[in-house]
Symmetry: C2
Subunit: 227 residues, 2 copies
Amino acid sequence: MYKKVIVILGGSVDPSFVKEVLDDAGKPFIIAADKGLEVLYKLSVMPDIILGDFDSVDNSILEEYKSEILTRFSPVKDFTDGEAAVDKAIEVVLSRGDQNESDIPESSVVILGATGSRLDHVLANISLLKKAVDAGVRAEIVDRNNKIRIFNNFDSIKVFKNNGKKYLSLMPLGDKVTGLTLSGFKYGATDADLYQGSSLAISNEITSDYGMISFKDGYLIVMETDD
Amino acid sequence: MYKKVIVILGGSVDPSFVKEVLDDAGKPFIIAADKGLEVLYKLSVMPDIILGDFDSVDNSILEEYKSEILTRFSPVKDFTDGEAAVDKAIEVVLSRGDQNESDIPESSVVILGATGSRLDHVLANISLLKKAVDAGVRAEIVDRNNKIRIFNNFDSIKVFKNNGKKYLSLMPLGDKVTGLTLSGFKYGATDADLYQGSSLAISNEITSDYGMISFKDGYLIVMETDD
């Protein structure tokens, strides 16, 4: 089993939640972006790669880290720290070839600190999951209430009921998702189309041991959530 | 000037923020959806319409309201309370013809309680703004950190600097937005295309008195945000 790549961005992070995720992952490969470094510092965890413009990070913290793991960008740039960190995570996974294994049921990349009060960052970070999908890398954004993944039409998705989240919501990332078929859910669907602006597939629930999701075209956001 | 329509959904709401928005709006027309009713109850504000399945609302609160303003849905339904409330708000605006005024600079519909920890609801609520755009009704989602609007290619958008938010972020709602041109911003653009998965237009700032945004095709999410 390959080591998970954990990415920690600068959104809201609950240190105890970060610690849980890091502990569950064993000895993960850790990429910290900008303010995401601060929570690792508090937890005394050394990341493998640090990157960002660090315009919002305390300099005394930065000085504690070795320069060879630190990549500093200009604050004036065409990408967010989140995008740089996810790009790096994809590169790490692809370079070691995890995705050549026949069936990896879990995400190789787990992104923390991607959510919070700045909804532009939240939406941009969710949209970044598409880059991972396009590169053939499984990635997810998690916080205490949400586990967010994006799939494309090449996937048939099995979601187990006993994963701890009550609701499962589906929506298109782009204009639409076509040919959506659901089984094992409270609200089923057969060859349905899902458009932006409809809340048809929000707050579904898995009623069997697992739910199966398949679709024909588009990018599907799969969100497992809890109140 | 027509009365604003204020919609209060069941997400996170800060009662003092809701009070500020209601006070600013003068005597708005108020639609409460499900748990959104609770904050109005605390503020002793009577809505004009109440709707929802009320599966998460205290019955003692519900009993205080007159049945004629209350529409109760079955909890098993193909739409969220948020969708029903936004549909109703669009209907109210269209029925009184606000949108026939030559130039309405502000949104007719202001949606509160659309954000919070359940990101499936947040995304679905943002996506609902497309329904308003398609109906020709200006609507926005607001909380303390964010003001979110969606425009289509028929709009040329003027955003004033002195509106209190530092950042302005742009992203496509669907697959892409084409022909994006920006002036008066820190990072300009001329006839650029914006795709899902790029964070190119996140955290821009207005440097002139106002910023001008135009584009050719697609649905553009415009988010004014603050840390």
